[in-house]
């Protein structure tokens, strides 16, 4: 078997892989939103009033989702080669040797440890989905903090999501849910204290207009924008979504005691634990006696579709987190917004299968507006992703001065910092949306670091990676 360094250049370069992962995550998202809409309108319904119960569904979804996800991760944890067993044997041997003669044990430990280091390359079933998956493990204190914060905002987002899918058509909800991209771009601009580049302004305008166009409802029941729904989706849903994304990004960048980043499967599992906890906590105050009755009577029937939906969420989130580790946050979110377009055909297909739950308008003007809106959002997003530039910065450090290289890594856009031998002391890989933003990072941040003596920056014109 070839390893990463000896195999030829992979057919799918990293930049395309992250695009595919992010886009797949978006398409799967559209499918699970459709399943959730079906469950909320067709299964979790009050038998007396015939009204769907979003609060009962929220708690059902979290409980079933949590159990299904734990089972799914346990399935992913199944060893598919001898390596995990070898690791287990190695650990047992190590423990036995620790109890043996004290004089010999240190030397033996070194040998066993060295063997272990060579063999510590687990092979689990889950590595087909997530190659970084090394089994379930407990998060560190810092990871625990980010998980709690992302779980808190995810809890708010999830509760609002269940309220909204009852009230909105998915082809309207999905574009409106992508408004988070605008918040993230604005957030980046505020953090960097920089003016927006032309491409950023263009993209923001296109996304905003696209979302508004797609959200216009011109059916028989209402012929205007539903302001309550729109405010809920724009402010509460997208606002909490933006904060959630920021904490998830912090989590993906946090390293454990072994210097490793948490893999996407563990991130999803632990985020789900906190998300389920906060969603249930936020939903309980809204639950009345009748809601608990609906919860009990519809629980069994909801198990299969909710389990399927949660599995899709799981796969979608793993793809999303993997893409997030490869690309810039706002770009990954942009690409995942392909669900905007996917929502339209999915709504149409489902309206033929279950017309009672997926009522579509026959007004061609609505579909024209939704189509134009979806294209506008998507074009705005593509514009953003294509404008990204990568810069290589070679640097020299002042002799006799101690340099905090971790400080350089904290600068927005810095992807990698390598300490080198030879003519230059360090190499920084910077990834920014425009050259102007790269200039901001170099002039306003890097040049101000006291230990830095010389900086030579070069733009990457083209790159291939394996």
């Amino acid at each position: 078997m070839t390893d990463r360094t000896t195999r030829p250049f992979r057919k799918l370069p990293r930049k395309y892989l992250f695009i595919i992962l992010a886009a797949l995550s978006g398409i799967i998202s559209a499918i699970w939103v459709a399943i959730d809409t079906f469950v909320t309108k067709g299964i979790v319904v009050d038998s007396v009033t015939l009204e769907s119960n979003e609060y009962a569904f929220a708690i059902q979804s979290m409980i079933i989702g949590f159990l299904v996800s734990v089972l799914f991760v346990l399935l992913l944890w199944i060893p598919i080669s001898k390596k995990p067993f070898e690791e287990l044997k190695m650990r047992k041997r190590q423990k036995r040797q620790e109890n043996d003669d004290d004089d010999n044990v240190q030397e033996d430990d070194k040998q066993v440890h060295a063997q272990g280091e060579q063999k510590r390359h687990f092979s689990f079933l889950g590595q087909f989905i997530d190659p970084q998956f090394q089994g379930i493990y407990l998060p560190t204190k810092r990871m625990f903090l980010w998980l709690t914060l992302s779980g808190l905002f995810s809890g708010i987002q999830t509760l609002v999501y269940f309220i909204l899918i009852k009230r909105m058509d998915i082809s309207v909800f999905l574009p409106a849910a992508q408004f988070v991209v605008v918040y993230l771009i604005i957030g980046d601009l505020i953090v960097d204290k920089s003016k927006p580049a032309t491409v950023e302004v263009q993209s923001i305008v296109m996304i905003v207009l696209g979302v508004i166009l797609a959200a216009i409802e011109l059916d028989t029941t209402s012929s205007s924008l539903n302001w309550f729904n729109l405010l809920m989706v724009f402010i509460v849903f997208n606002g909490s979504s933006a904060v959630y994304v920021i904490f998830q990004k912090k989590l993906t960048q946090t390293k454990d005691h072994h210097g490793r980043n948490m893999d996407s499967t563990n991130i999803r599992l632990w985020t789900l634990v906190f998300m389920a906890l906060f969603t249930i906590l936020f939903t309980i105050p809204f639950m009345r006696k009748t809601d608990w009755f609906v919860f009990k009577t519809t629980f069994v029937r909801a198990i299969f579709p909710v389990a399927l939906s949660m599995l899709l969420v799981y796969v979608s989130r793993i793809f999303y987190i993997r893409a997030l580790a490869m690309g810039k946050m706002s770009i990954v979110n942009s690409l995942a917004s392909i669900s905007v377009i996917a929502g339209i055909p999915i709504t149409v297909i489902l309206s033929f299968i279950w017309p009672q739950y997926f009522q579509i308008t026959s007004n061609w003007l609505v579909w024209l507006l939704r189509g134009i809106g979806a294209i506008l959002v998507f074009t705005g997003i593509v514009g953003l992703s294509l404008s990204e530039v990568k810069i290589v910065i070679l640097g020299k450090v002042k002799p006799g001065e101690k340099c905090d290289f971790e400080q350089i890594k904290e600068i927005p856009g810095v992807e990698k910092v390598s300490i080198l031998t030879g003519e230059y002391d360090l190499m920084i890989i910077l990834r920014t949306r425009t050259i102007g933003r790269g200039y901001q990072s170099i002039v306003a941040r890097l040049e101000l670091i006291p230990c830095i003596d010389v900086l030579v920056s070069s733009t990457i014109l083209k790159e291939w990676s394996s």
Binding site: H258, V392, V456, K462, W464, S465, S466
Partner: protein, 85 residues
């Protein structure tokens, strides 16, 4: 993201200056050399930056020798990565 085994690899950047008009030929030749994990065409002092990852120093020596033999490369500067953040 590198796995723990890959973290033990020896990594280096080879900065190359290329003869005018030979960039595409050099790139094609570099892509055939094993242990090269990325190749980037850049502006400025150097023309191409190559990232090499090997298990041993001997292997690293072999790869840099292969890079030196590529027709069109005028000059190279190899910098071993001591630490990476």
């Amino acid at each position: 993201m590198a796995t723990p085994v890959e973290e033990n690899y020896l990594k280096a950047y080879v900065m190359c200056t290329v003869q005018l008009g030979k960039t595409n030929e050099v790139l094609a030749a570099l892509k055939k050399i094993p242990n090269i994990t990325s190749v980037a065409v850049i502006t400025g002092e150097y023309d191409i930056i190559v990232r090499v990852e090997t298990k041993t120093m001997d292997e690293m020596y072999d790869r840099t020798q292969e890079i030196h033999l590529v027709k069109g490369i005028v000059e190279t500067t190899t910098s071993v990565i001591q630490k990476e953040f």
